[in-house]
Amino acid sequence: MASNVPTPLFPTTRREFLQLSGRGIGLLAFSRFAPSFLVNSALAASPAPEKDRPILVLVQLAGGNDGLNTLVPYEDANYYRLRPTLGIAKDKVLRLNATVGLHPSCAALHRLTQNGKVAIVQNVGYPNPNRSHFRSSEIWETASGSNEFLATGWIGRFMDNACAGAPAGSHDPVGIHLSNGLPQSFLGASDHPTFGLLPGAGNHRENEENRRLLDSLVNQPGPGENANATYLKHTLMDALVTERKVQSVLSGYQPSATYAGNPFAASLRNVAALIAAGLPTRVYFVSLTGFDTHSNQANQQANLLTTLSEGLAAFQKDLELHRLEGQVTTMTFSEFGRRPSENESRGTDHGTAAPLFVMGARVKGGLHGTAPDLNLAHNQDLTYTTDFRSVYATMLDRWMNCPSESVLGGKFASLPIV
C-alpha cells in the first residue's frame, strides 16, 4: 500500500489552502468544493497560543436555564402574573438594583457582582428562535443564524484564526473540554489539538489503568504493518502524551479555595489546575446539565443555581489566590431560556432569551443590556434584546484579541462588558 501521503488536489485545511494560493492556484480552481472556512470566514491570523494569553472558560448550562427565575424582575407585576407558583418572592430576591435581583441560590454570584467581578448580560438570544434543544444548542455553538447551518463552531473558527501559526510538533491542546464529547463549538475547519476530560474527577484508577494498557498496546508491533495502522498509532500516541501530562497536573494540584463535592465543581477545579500549570490552552469548556425543568422546577433549579454559583465563586477565588485572575474570563451560556408563563406542572417549557454571566477580574461588573418586556400574553415568549453573537464578538475582540468578524462572518456590536 502507499506509504507516502497523497497530495490533496483540494485544500482540506486552511494551511493547505494558503499553500495552494501561495503557489498561484486560484480560488476558482476548486470553488465548487470550497470548504466551509473559505465561505464562512476571511483569514485573519491572530497570534499563536503561548503562555499568559487571555483564557476563556465557557460554562454550558445544558437543558435551557430559566432566565426569569435567575435574574428576577421583582418589581414587575407581570412577572408574578406569569409565575403564580414559581415566582420568587420579592423579599427573597438578592437585589442588584431597584428592579431586578438574583435567585436566592446565587448568593456567591451576587457578592461577586457587587464586587464588580461579574457582569450580567440581560435578555440574550437571537432572531427567529428555535426551541429544540438540539438545534438551538447548535445555533449557539456554531454562532449561526437561526436558518443557517455551519459545519464549524465559533471556538473552532477562533482556533482556525488564532492557531494557524502554531509551531509544528506542539501537541498541547488549544481547547480542553470537560463534557461528554467534543463540543460543537470546538469544531474547526482544520484539525486543532483539543482534549477532553470526562466531567468531574472521574475514576482515576480506571482511567490510569486504561491509559497504561493502551500505552502498552500501542507500542506493540501491529497485526500487519500498514500505513493506516501507523497513522492511527501516531495519532493515539500524541493523545496519550497529552493525557499523561494532564493527569500529572491534575493529581499534583493544590487548590487555594474549597470546591464543593460535585462533578461541576471538580471540573472547575481541574480547569484551575490546568491554567495554573501554564498550559497554552486558550479555551476551556465545562458543562452543567439538568436545566430542562418542565416540572417541579423550584427545587431543581435552586440546586443547580447553588452548584453554579458556588462553583464559579470557588473557581474565581482559586484563580485569585494563584494570582491568575487577570488571565481568565468565564462566561455562561444556555441553549435557550424558558417560557415566561409557568406550565401546569410547576415547571416551564422551552423559551427564548435569557441572561448570561461573564466573570473575571477584567469585566465591568453589574448589569448590561436591557431587561425583557414582560407585557406578554399567556404562553408568549420573550423577545431578545441582545444578540448572543454580540457577546461572542465582545469576548473575541476585547478579550481574546481575535478579530470577531472573521470568526462570526459578520459585524456584531461589542458590549462594554470587558
Partner: protein, 504 residues
C-alpha cells in the same frame, strides 16, 4: 480525488483478480473480511454460518436481489402529507411575522424529522440481516449525493434513499434515470432552476464527473448540451414532474452524436462511453476496499465485463465481493472504519440497540466527523485517513466509554426521558454494556478470555506481545470476582479504543 503517486502492486493479474475466490481459500478469516467490509462487523455466529454456507450462498444472503426496504418513519410520512398544505400556507402568507412563523415551523419539522430519521436508519441498519444492503444503499448515496441542508425537506431525502434502495440492484442506467427524477436530486443539483432558455449545468456536470464517468471523460460542450436535455425536470411537493414548456426540445450533440435527446438519452449515451464500466467499480474500491485507487488496468478489466452485463448492479456486487482481488491479503484489516461503521460495528459487537436518543447517538457521530443525510458537499465523504485526527479519534474513544457506562438519566432532557420510557415499554433497554453481558467472559480463564476478545473485536490476529499485554491485564494477582469483572470491562474498552479496532 487525491493524486496518488505510488502504484498499488497486486498479487493477481487483472484477469485473475476478478475470478471468484477458490473454494479452498474460503475460511473463517475470509468470511470475517467479507462481513466487515460488506456490513459493519463480523459477529462470531455470522462468521460461523458464512464459513459453513460457502461464499456463493453468503453473497446471495448478504445481497438479495430484492431490496430490503427501510420503512418510512411516521414523522416523515406526516411531513410528506403536510407538504402541500404547508407550501400553500407559505405562498398565501403575507411577508411579515406570520410568514416567518410558518417558515420557522417548516424548518423545525424538517430538523426534527431528520433527527428521527437518522435514529431510525441506524436502528434499521444495525440489524445484521439488513447490514450489507443498508451499507450498499449508503454507498450509492455516497455516489448519488444529496444533502438535507440544501434540499431543506427531510421527506425528499428519505424518498431519495428509498429510491436508491428500490433500484439498488437493477441496471445502473435504470438507477441513474431514476435518480435524475428523484425530487431530492432535482432540488439538490438545481434541475428545478433549469429552464429552456437558461439551462443550469449543475446536474449535467455532476452526472458525468461524479455519478457516471469521472473527470477527463467528457468535454465542457458535452455538459452544456446535456444540460439542455435535462431542462424541464421539476419537482413539486416531493413529486417529480416534467414541464414540457421548460424543456429545450432542439437537437443536442453529446459525445459526438446528435439528436433530439432527452435526459434519459443522455444517460444512455454516457453508458456507451468507454469510461462508464470502470467508474462504479472504482467508487466501490474507494468505499469498500482501499484508500489507494485500484489500478486502471484492473478497473478496465471489470469495466468491460460489466458493460457486457448491461451494467447489472446485482451482478457487479456479486462479482466484486466474490473476487480474488476483494480477498487479497493487502486489503485485510487495513481500512479505516467510517464513523457510521465504527458506531454500528460497536452496537453489533457489543450486542446493543441503538438508543432512541438523538443527542446521545448523533452527537458522537458528528464529533467523529459524519452527519447522516448531510455529507459535506456533492463529492460525498472523502473517507479513509480523513476520518482520523486528534479530535475525531478522541470522540471515538469517548463513544466507547459512553457505551460502557449506564445512561445518565438525570442529565436527559424531558423529551429524551419520554423516548427512553417508550423504548423500555417495548422491552428494549440494552443501550449500554451492562455487567451481566460481561460476567460470563470474566469467569473464563484469562487466556481464553483474551482469545475471545481479540478474535471477536479485531480484524487481524495480533502479535504475541500484544496478546500477552491483554492477558496480563486481565489477570492481576489475587483478583477477586468483582475485580476480574472490572478488569475485563477495562480491557474491552481499551481494545475497542485501540488503533487495531479502528481498522476493518
Amino acid at each position: 480525488m487525491p493524486t496518488v503517486t505510488s502504484r498499488m502492486k497486486l498479487a493477481y493479474s487483472p484477469t485473475e483478480a476478478w475470478q471468484p475466490l477458490p473454494a479452498a481459500d474460503w475460511n473463517a478469516d475470509a468470511a470475517g473480511h467479507l462481513l466487515r467490509r460488506a456490513g459493519w462487523s463480523a459477529l462470531p455466529a455470522e462468521v460461523e454460518q458464512a464459513t459453513r454456507d460457502g461464499l456463493a450462498a453468503t453473497l446471495a444472503r448478504l445481497f438479495p436481489s430484492q431490496p430490503v426496504l427501510w420503512s418510512q418513519p411516521p414523522l416523515i410520512a406526516h411531513l410528506k402529507e403536510d407538504i402541500p398544505a404547508m407550501a400553500r400556507g407559505l405562498a398565501g402568507a403575507q411577508a411579515g411575522p406570520d410568514k416567518q412563523r410558518l417558515q420557522r415551523e417548516a424548518r423545525e419539522r424538517t430538523q426534527l424529522a431528520v433527527l428521527d430519521m437518522s435514529i431510525k436508519w441506524l436502528q434499521y441498519a444495525a440489524q445484521p440481516q439488513n447490514a450489507a444492503f443498508a451499507k450498499w444503499v449508503l454507498f450509492l448515496s455516497d455516489v448519488y449525493v444529496v444533502g438535507v441542508q440544501k434540499v431543506k425537506n427531510a421527506a425528499l431525502v428519505w424518498g431519495h434513499f428509498d429510491l436508491l434502495a428500490r433500484h439498488a440492484f437493477e441496471s445502473a442506467p435504470a438507477l441513474a434515470k431514476a435518480v435524475s427524477r428523484s425530487p431530492a436530486m432535482v432540488a439538490y443539483l438545481d434541475l428545478n432552476e433549469s429552464k429552456r432558455d437558461a439551462p443550469n449545468e449543475n446536474f449535467a456536470r455532476e452526472l458525468f464527473e461524479l455519478f457516471l464517468l469521472g473527470e477527463g471523460n467528457y468535454s465542457e460542450a458535452d455538459i452544456k448540451e446535456s444540460a439542455r436535455a435535462f431542462t424541464g425536470y421539476r419537482q413539486k411537493f416531493g413529486t417529480f414532474r416534467f414541464a414540457p414548456r421548460q424543456h429545450d426540445a432542439g437537437i443536442k450533440t453529446v459525445f459526438g452524436q446528435s439528436g433530439y435527446f432527452m435526459g434519459d438519452d443522455v444517460i444512455d449515451l454516457a453508458f456507451q462511453q468507454p469510461a462508464a464500466g470502470a467508474f462504479l467499480p472504482h467508487e466501490m474500491g474507494k468505499f469498500y476496499l482501499t484508500d489507494t485507487p485500484l489500478p486502471p488496468e484492473y478497473l478496465h478489466e471489470i469495466g468491460s465485463w460489466w458493460s457486457a452485463q448491461h451494467f447489472d448492479l446485482h451482478a457487479l456486487a456479486l462479482r466484486f465481493f466474490g473476487s480474488q482481488l476483494f480477498f487479497s491479503p493487502e486489503f485485510r484489516g487495513d481500512f479505516i472504519k467510517s464513523p457510521v461503521q465504527f458506531y454500528l460495528g460497536l452496537v453489533q459487537d457489543l450486542g446493543l440497540s441503538v438508543a432512541p436518543l438523538p443527542r446521545a447517538v448523533l452527537n458522537p457521530l458528528r464529533q467523529m466527523g459524519q452527519t447522516l443525510f448531510n455529507p459535506p458537499n456533492v463529492r460525498g465523504w472523502v473517507g479513509g485517513r480523513n476520518w482520523i485526527n486528534s479530535a475525531t479519534y478522541q470522540a471515538r474513544r469517548q463513544l466507547v466509554e459512553t457505551l460502557f457506562a449506564p445512561i445518565k438519566e438525570e442529565a436527559l432532557n424531558a423529551d429524551e426521558q419520554l423516548e427512553l420510557v417508550a423504548a423500555r415499554a417495548n422491552g428494549v433497554n440494552n443501550f449500554t454494556v451492562a455487567d451481566d453481558l460481561l460476567a460470563p467472559l470474566a469467569a473464563l480463564d484469562p487466556t481464553v478470555a483474551t482469545t475471545h476478545l481479540l478474535a471477536n473485536y479485531l480484524a487481524l490476529p495480533v502479535a504475541p506481545e500484544f496478546r500477552d499485554a491483554v492477558r496480563q491485564f486481565l489477570a492481576p494477582e489475587d483478583a477477586d470476582a468483582p475485580q476480574k469483572l472490572r478488569r475485563l470491562r477495562r480491557a474491552a474498552v481499551t481494545l475497542l479504543q485501540s488503533p487495531e479496532y479502528q481498522l476493518c
